[in-house]
Amino acid sequence: MSKAILTDVTKCIGCLKCVSACKEVHHLDADVPRVWDKNDGLSAENWTAIVFKDGRYVRKQCRHCLEPACASVCPVGALHKTSIGAVVYDSSKCLGCRYCMMACPFGIPRYEWDKAVPHVEKCILCYDRIEEGKQPACTEACPTGATIFGERKELLPLVHARIEANPGKYIDKVWGEHEVGGTSVLYLSDIDLGFLTYPTVKGDKPLPQETVTAMESVPFAFVGMGGAMLGLNWIIRRRMKLGEEKAKKKDPAHE
């Protein structure tokens, strides 16, 4: 039941239909460049954007990681991965700590910096539309089939088939199949898409696992420190007592 989006970079013509469809469906506001979006066109009002890179149009959106870093760090669980694959946000829980924005390896979540009551904004894979049996607004709007929607399990063989059927056309790699544990948004491309993530994110280890060891040792550290302190205290007290007794023995007249 895990859904996914596949974007074939070679097919995108940069018409921005996906962007406007997303804005329309989610009632996003006017988007004026502001001092605080120093990025790629994504903003609190733009959940998806087209990045123009090496003569290609690359659609950027939340990757809906299989093991999302954003959800793992949120102290109140305002972000979570649903069974259909979407990583969604519950604004009523959020504190606004912005840890999710710090943790996301793709730099996706955006903040409403200009509001007195700000929230985190990002693509939600149109989970409400999917639940209604529809497909996301962006894939529906795409006129060239560059970005399509389906089951992750069914899309993956399709992508590999596409690569095999067009030898030399694509780089033989499906972005999103394995990185950071895999994502629900897949890319097929003839240019390197490494720029979609931070240059130093390497390997297929899901980021939340970086914290697991530290978090798992928390109870041990807690109890261990308590035990150590009690033990230390016991030893010191005993030593002091022994010292006193010794002193008493030596000089009983002192009493």
Binding site: C97, D114, I236, R237
Partner: protein
Amino acid sequence: MNRAKNAKLVLWILAGFAAAVALNRYLFGLGVTTNLNDRTPWGFWIGFDVMAGVALAAGGFVTTAVFYIMKREEFHPLVKPAVLTAFLGYVAVVVGLLFDLGLPWNIWHMIIYWNPHSPLFEVGWCVMLYTSVLLLEFSPVPLEEYSRYAKIRNFLMKYRFVLVLLGIMLSTLHQSSLGSLFLIMPERLYPLWYTHILPIEFFISAVALGLMMVAFETLVSHWLYRRDPETVLVGKLCRVAAWVLALYFVVKSFDLGITGKLGLVFNGKWQSDLFIVEIAVSTIIPAVMFAVPRLTRKPVVQWTGSFMVVAGMVLNRIDVGGLAMYDSTASYTPSWMEIAISLGVVSAACLVFLFVLERFNIWEIKPADPESMPQTAPSFDYSSRSWLGTPDAASLARHSLAFVLSFALGMGMMSGKRLHAEGVDSIRVSPATGIDTLCINGNRDDQYVEFSHEGHIAWLRTHAISLTIDGVVHTASPSGGDSCTFCHHLNLPGEKVSNCAECHTSMYSEVDFFRHGWHASAVGANLKCDDCHATGVTRNAASAKKCTACHRGYDFAPGKGAAGPELYIPSYVDAMHKLCVSCHIADLREVSSLSQTNGGILSGKDKSNLAQCASCHRTGVPPELRADMKWQVKLPHYDNVVLPNVGVTVK
């Protein structure tokens, strides 16, 4: 006693200044007060207020461990101030966090919504619990003054050991977990600082910092109130700190060695310089100084050593909390408002500290408040029946004055842009380039629009067009010979076709075209009201002289500007969209009629394509793909495009 008095005055000034900024932050949001942005969502407040704040407050658990657990009775004089500093430190951290959180009123959500995988969740809980523990640990001191609460006090005293133990356990957790916060961002944090043992390093350095913070705070407060410094005790602290710092150094070097990062330390990048400075100031130099027992008894060594550790470790927290991420984000330097808030929070905490010091039994002998000494002069002047004010009131008045004045200064320093929460960068427009085909790229972001100037001229030479935009009719016809002014609606003196960017100078914000203030000002045109506005009628734009009455060289197209000055003109983006989209959108609306009257130049289908954003923007769409596009006839959904109300007829 002047030291304490002056110190308090400075603290009140800083607090007042911060209060002004705080008001701004809560009314208008984070974007206008901070330089935080989507790439750097954590900044100075996290690095200094939270990370450094918690570490600085480590003195509480370290001192209680030494005194209650290790039974080193001689440290008794340091325990109360240390616990008080820790408590105030944690309160300051929480207050600082209330500024940083986007939705601070939801801070309590951590109690009901749990995510135990999150290090921040754990830090939050520990801070919450530990602050309560510290309050309980400290409350016997103020309760001492009120015999009515003796029972509570005795109860707390009885279980003090349990509280202390709990406090140490909680501190261990969150001091280290502050390091765990950053484990999930290997891509952001520079490898010199990123390590899987960051939590352990954080804990060890917190112990060292805690010791030195207690030392430093003792030195400062004794200096402020001109007490004899606790040289012996501070010296002992320094000697312990030497060991802890040595351990920290060994652990850190080992880790760098094992992970093969030693080369990074000396590769000459700014990060390695920063790292060397940090470790030298926070660890190496003080540890070496404190290693010689004879030196640790010297006040100079105590002052410099403890200050170096405090400053160096604060730098370490700031590095991990943001500075060492600069390369991956490269878009943030704190705004003065962020720094003002941080200083204000610290100042407020210091003021409370001094107040408690003067009011309760923290030291064996209370320092007297210089201004609440028994006064000799009567506070009421019987002859004039006026109240002269007590010295207490004098300090109250002085502090309020300092607070209010600096508050006002803070308000004054906030620019209009900040106050109105616009936050839009004013981008000056670069004019279009090219002759027959213009390249329109006002903000030079390389996403230009190609505009066939020649093609448009050719079309206007053969067509008569009448366009109604926002109720104003614009016409052009081949016979009228006026097709240029159809677009170039206002030309500067001596020009036939002034560039759009001449007047629409700002990319995204409205332009004050007329500049009324300048015309009226003595340093500007120095005109009297009556010079432009007719007397006897309401003075407004309609009753004013036409611009061309004075500016004869200006060439206003009919219907534009001639009716009176337009005070504000649209941004470049809006102007261009208005100019292009109004015609082409009309095409879209009247596709059928156009394709009949167009003489077959463009078919209706092609024309409607011109009303799609991408047909003009991003000209790189390959032509063969263009043909494939299955456009739906639908208006593009870009709200910031000011789409005028248009009617068009083409003859």
